[in-house]
Every structure is written in structure tokens, then in C-alpha cells.
């Protein structure tokens, strides 16, 4: 078990009610010794950014399965940056490979596609947290 005491905010933005993935990922991160805070459903980029900065988390994890990621994920990054914070944002869910380049350009630190196994999720979170520090 790692001793890194990372804190992650996992969030659902917009109207997407699919919460299976976000809950499973939250538990997997916990299993890996990471502290997890879950926003609950129907958040806006603003509420996520505010929670991330207030809670001083190391990483924000977004779970998006409704197809709105190209609109909303960049807005979350922007809302965090507008608060003067460099907290990295990781995106997971139904995200086709074709979208990854544009998402990276918009400041998303890592994209986890469907079927990503637990160790990949944990690695991605640790990697982007380490890259920030």
C-alpha cells in the first residue's frame, strides 16, 4: 500500500446520471490508499472547480458517459485555472480515441477509455499528481 496520501475529487458534471463508473473508480482508488471525495451528480464546472480548490485535492477525476465531454471537460479545466489553481484533471468514460488530442490540447492531463483496468486508473492518477509536484 502506498503512503502517498493523495487526495482525489471524483466528479459528475452536467446531466449525465451514469454513476456506476465513478463509484467503482472511487472505491478502487480508496483500495489503493488514496483519499477520495465524491461530488455527487449534476455538478457544473464551477461547483467542481470550487470543491477542488476548497478541498485542496491533488487530482480531479471526471466521469462522463453522455457525450458532452468535449464541451464540459475543458470548461472544468478552465474553471480551475481561473481560480489560479493547477490541479490536474483526468477524464474517464465513453470517450473515443479520436477526441484525445483535442482534450489534451484543452488541458486534460489524462484520458481513460472504457475498460481501463484498476491499475491503469491508479497509475494515471499518481502520474499526473507527480507531474504537478
Amino acid at each position: 500500500m502506498s503512503q502517498d496520501s493523495l487526495r482525489v475529487l471524483v466528479a459528475k458534471v452536467g446531466l449525465d446520471g451514469h454513476d456506476r463508473g465513478v463509484k467503482v473508480v472511487a472505491r478502487l482508488l480508496r483500495d489503493a490508499g488514496i483519499e477520495v471525495i465524491y461530488t455527487g451528480l449534476f455538478q457544473t464546472p464551477e461547483t467542481v472547480a470550487a470543491a477542488a480548490v476548497d478541498e485542496d485535492v491533488d487530482v480531479v477525476g471526471l466521469s462522463m458517459l453522455s457525450g458532452a465531454h468535449m464541451t464540459l471537460a475543458p470548461l472544468v479545466v478552465k474553471a480551475i485555472r481561473d481560480r489560479g489553481s493547477d490541479i490536474p484533471v483526468v477524464l474517464g468514460g465513453i470517450v473515443p480515441n479520436q477526441d484525445v488530442v483535442e482534450l489534451t490540447a484543452a488541458g486534460i492531463a489524462a484520458v481513460l477509455g472504457p475498460g481501463a483496468p484498476a491499475d491503469q486508473v491508479v497509475d494515471a492518477v499518481r502520474r499526473v499528481a507527480a507531474a504537478r509536484a
Binding site: 452536467g14 446531466l15 451528480l41 458532452a68 464541451t71 465513453i94 480515441n97 483496468p117 491499475d119
Partner: protein, 544 residues
């Protein structure tokens, strides 16, 4: 004394049959069903072997493909293609804002308009959605829950404007709000207020729309959210019992509405378990309706269901392999005796399906229906020691869960379901099962081809994906602002005042006010906000 076989034969002989020949490829003639003379037969209580005596000998399942994206005009095109390709029922997917009762110009709708389904704001959109489609001929399913009453009202308003009286409309409203709190999470009002709207739609359709299925009680989303097969079965049927109790409380006799309740189950990848689940579902429903709720009409006891293959079983890796998964799942639905079926497209772990992918999914059903001969014989696995034993086990596990829900509700399944939701009991069980399944996958105990085994070919990434641009969102907002500009503001105000007044009195059925509001081009968001002003809004306590 007559054997069950003789009774079955009589019912079968009275059924209208499809054209044969019903034989194997090499010419061996096939009976409509097999089994001992004194055994169970399809069309006989408790219906484990099927709701009808003749099953697919009379009519194949309805190939009902779920579709919807962009504006109503785009989806209308897709509907017409489905009809042309041989699909015989329409199934409408709405976008997220519509599902949550928000207008396309609501700030929360940003980025979601027309993305997961079609955007419907007013009667004008409903008109475009069904343009040149005869609503008195084709049956239409509308997958919507929190604003189900609003959408039904708009549908009735549109049909009647087009000259089709409501009594002639055939179709299904999903309208299953309980599973929204448990699994799908598209809720707006608190549970009890939502149940009032369900009651109103059930009473309205029972009185005025004899061909309409008022609720499609859905396990699909419960399973997709991560439940086991037994939990899907039990939670879904418990929700069904809750609606029965709700309607009886409202004074409706059980046989006046139960024949119009239908079900919607998942077809996951564990082939035999799924078949056992469908067989157990029919048996449990029949017993409970008869013994606990006093139904006397056969139609009330016969569980009929729609099936959709499991979206969660699809993989983004080597997506063409999803065609195979879907075919196997669809076959389970058919061998389990489904009344209608939607097959997912291979690209749905990535995006909404392209036209080609959706066509292949429909073709999959057609191969099962017309090439394999599996529809010739009803309940072909009935009598298999394995499948019968698995059916019994499914029933046993479901009964354990009913007992727990009944206990939570102190003798009322309706109260048990609402309490279970309020206390996060359903949500917690589903999350636990999802987590367990994921751990099995991570430990390598559960193999998913192309994901944790057999990875060669994963780099081959040339599947064409449907792209939905923000253009549709802009277009839809323009359409909405034009409707707002052109309508009679005084009529809108009057309609909303009446809706608010009716909402306050829980004895009043809200459907007439909603139909009138639809006619006045009141938007979905305006109707929902007006009701929320009276009902309040539901907020889920976030738990991991």
C-alpha cells in the same frame, strides 16, 4: 379431466398463426412446443414457458430499435429508415436535458442538447419527430421517466392535432420512476410526488388509451448500473408490485390497469442465467398478481417484456467483436420468450451508433428470426434440468429480496421501495455488486476478450464514429426561441396557472392540464418548473 396439453392445444388452435413451414433445415417437422402431456405449457399459469400458447408461431418479437439524436427532424429521418429497413416499432431516445425536464436553452443543458437522444422542447418538436408517420398504425415507445407525463401529454396533443384520436394510440411510456432513484438517476421531483404523476398517467391511460402501456418497468438500467441478474429480477418486479399497490390505493381495480404494465429486461452475456431470469420473472409476476393482488384476468398475470442487449458488455477495444456479444445476448432474449428486442450497435462503447452499425444490429435480429429457426418452438430450453434448476434458483433469490423490501415497508412493497430509495439501500446494493464484478475483472477471474485477454488487434482503430457537433445544439435553441416568439403568451400563462393549481391538489389528475399546456406550446421546462414549484426537487445524498 383434461391434460394441460389438451388445454394448450385448444388455445393454440384458436391462435392466428404465421406462415410456415415450421421444420428444421433438413425438413424435420417441428412441434410448436415440447414436453410431457401433464407438464407446464406456454400460455398457462404461471407462464414460466411464455405468456401465450402460440408464442412466435403467431408473431415474431417486435424488432424495436431505440433511436434518437440531434433535432426532431434528424430523428424523424432515422425513424423512417428504421421503418424502411423492416423495423416495426419505434422507440424514442431523448436527450439528457429532455429526460431531466430542461429546455434546450437552459444553462444546465450546455453541451448535452441532442447528444444522447433527440431534443424535445415543445409540441412543434413532437410534430417534426413524427412527421409522415402514422401514429395510429405503428406503435411508439418513449423512453422517459421524470417528465413522462409531460411527454405523454405532448404525444397525445400531437396525435390529436394530426387527426389520430388518443384511443387509437398504441405504444409504451417507460414512466418507471422508481428505478431512476435506484439506478438511472434521472430524477427531478422527490419520490412520493413523482409517484403521484405515475398514478395520474396510469389512471389516464386506463380510462382513455386502451392500447397504451402506461409503465415499462425496467430492470435494464438496474443491471447496467451494476446489479446482479437476481437483483435486476427482484428490484424490477418489486417496483412492479409497488406500482400495482399505488394504483390500487388510487381506487383502480387491479385488472383495469395491470394488463397494460409491461417490463423491460437486460440481456447480459451469461446466456443461461438470462434465460432463467426471464422464465422466473413470468412465474413470479403471475403468482404475486394472482395471490397477493387478487388479479383474475389472465392478461394481468401474463408478464410481457422488452429486451435490450447489455450496453455494459460492449468493449471499446476491437469493437467489431461486439456484434458477436450482441448476437449471443439477443439469442438469450429470444429463447427466453421476449416480446420485443433492441440490439445494441458495435460502436456504442464509443459513441452513439452510426447508421451502418445500427443496421448491422437490426440484421443480427433478422438472422436470429429468419435463418436460425429458433423461433419455431416455444421455450425450447424448458425441461432442461439445468435451466429449470437455474430458474428455480432465480426465483428463490428474488423472493429473499422481496421479503427484505416487504419488511422495510412493514407489509407494503410500495413503502418498502420508497424507503429503500430514501435510505440508499437499493443504490448501495447495486454499487456493491458493480464493485464486486469489477474486482473479479481486475483479478482476472472474469475474462473480457480484447480487454484483459486476447489483446492482439487492439491498435486497429479505424471504426467510423458518429460525430454530433454543437451545430445541433445551436439549431435547437433557434427552433425553441422561434416557438417562444410565435406562441400566445396569455395562453401559456393560463395553462401554467392551471397546472400549478392542479398540482397543489393531489386528488386532481394532472394529465388534462398537461395536454392543454402542450397545445399552447408550453415548453417541457416550463411545465416541469411549474410542478417543481409545488413538488420540490429531489437531491441524492452522494455516497460511494
Amino acid at each position: 379431466m383434461s391434460f394441460p396439453r389438451q388445454q394448450w392445444q385448444q388455445a393454440f388452435d384458436e391462435s392466428r398463426l404465421r406462415e410456415g413451414p415450421f421444420q428444421t433445415m433438413s425438413g424435420i417437422p417441428l412441434e410448436p412446443v415440447y414436453g410431457p402431456d401433464d407438464g407446464e405449457f406456454p400460455g398457462q399459469y404461471p407462464y414460466a414457458r411464455g405468456p401465450y400458447a402460440s408464442m412466435y408461431r403467431s408473431k415474431l418479437w417486435t424488432m424495436r430499435m431505440f433511436a434518437g439524436f440531434g433535432t426532431a427532424i434528424d430523428t424523424n429521418q432515422r425513424f423512417k429508415e428504421i421503418i424502411k429497413a423492416g423495423g416495426d416499432g419505434l422507440s424514442t431516445a431523448f436527450d439528457m436535458p429532455t429526460l431531466l425536464g430542461l429546455d434546450s436553452d437552459d444553462p444546465m443543458a450546455l453541451g448535452e442538447v441532442g447528444r444522447c437522444g433527440v431534443a424535445i422542447d415543445t409540441l412543434a418538436d413532437m410534430r417534426d419527430l413524427f412527421a409522415d408517420i402514422d401514429l395510429g398504425e405503428i406503435t411508439t415507445s418513449m423512453t422517459i421517466n421524470s417528465p413522462a407525463a409531460v411527454m405523454l401529454a405532448m404525444f397525445v396533443a400531437q396525435a390529436e392535432t394530426a387527426g389520430v384520436p388518443r384511443a387509437k394510440l398504441g405504444g409504451t411510456l417507460q414512466n418507471d420512476i422508481l428505478k431512476e432513484y435506484q439506478a438511472q438517476k434521472e430524477f427531478v421531483f422527490p419520490p412520493r410526488q413523482s409517484m403521484r404523476l405515475v398514478r395520474d398517467t396510469v389512471a389516464f391511460t386506463a380510462a382513455e388509451m386502451p392500447r397504451w402501456h402506461s409503465i415499462s418497468i425496467s430492470g435494464y438500467h438496474i443491471r447496467e448500473a451494476g446489479s446482479t441478474a437476481a437483483e435486476e429480477l427482484a428490484f424490477t418486479l418489486a417496483n412492479g408490485f409497488a406500482y400495482v399497490e399505488l394504483a390500487r390505493q388510487a381506487g383502480l381495480p387491479v385488472d383495469s390497469f395491470a394488463p397494460r404494465l409491461s417490463f423491460f429486461f437486460n440481456a447480459h452475456i451469461d446466456f443461461f442465467e438470462e434465460i432463467a431470469k426471464y422464465r422466473a420473472a413470468r412465474r413470479i409476476w403471475a403468482r404475486w398478481l394472482k395471490e397477493r393482488y387478487g388479479a383474475t384476468s389472465e392478461r394481468s398475470m401474463q408478464l410481457r417484456f422488452h429486451t435490450q442487449t447489455a450496453g455494459v458488455s460492449l468493449t471499446a477495444q476491437q469493437p467489431e467483436v461486439n456484434i458477436v456479444r450482441t448476437a449471443i445476448e439477443a439469442l438469450a432474449g429470444v429463447l427466453g420468450g421476449t416480446q420485443s428486442l433492441h440490439t445494441n450497435s458495435m460502436d456504442e462503447a464509443l459513441a452513439l451508433p452510426t447508421e451502418k452499425a445500427a443496421r448491422i444490429a437490426l440484421r443480427t435480429q433478422q438472422v436470429i428470426a429468419y435463418e436460425t429457426n429458433v423461433a419455431h418452438v416455444a421455450d425450447p430450453l424448458g425441461g432442461s434440468h439445468f435451466v429449470e434448476s437455474l430458474t428455480d434458483e432465480m426465483e428463490r433469490r428474488a423472493e429473499e429480496i422481496f421479503a427484505k423490501i416487504d419488511e422495510m415497508g412493514r407489509g407494503s412493497i410500495l413503502e418498502g421501495c420508497i424507503t429503500g430509495i430514501e435510505e440508499n439501500w437499493f443504490q448501495g446494493r447495486i454499487a456493491d455488486s458493480a464493485y464486486e464484478l469489477e474486482r473479479n475483472f481486475n483479478r482476472g477471474e472474469r475474462i473480457v476478450v480484447g480487454v484483459n485477454r486476447f489483446l492482439e488487434g487492439n491498435d486497429d482503430d479505424d471504426l467510423a464514429i458518429l460525430k454530433i457537433t454543437n451545430e445541433d445544439e445551436t439549431k435547437q435553441k433557434q427552433r425553441l426561441s422561434k416557438v417562444r416568439a410565435d406562441r400566445n403568451d396569455a395562453a401559456v400563462r393560463d395553462a401554467l396557472d392551471r397546472l400549478a393549481k392542479d398540482a397543489v391538489d393531489s386528488e386532481v389528475n394532472l394529465m388534462p392540464a398537461l395536454v392543454d399546456a402542450s397545445m399552447a406550446y408550453v415548453t417541457v421546462g416550463e411545465m416541469m418548473n411549474t410542478m417543481a414549484g409545488v413538488f420540490g426537487r429531489h437531491v441524492e445524498v452522494p455516497t460511494i
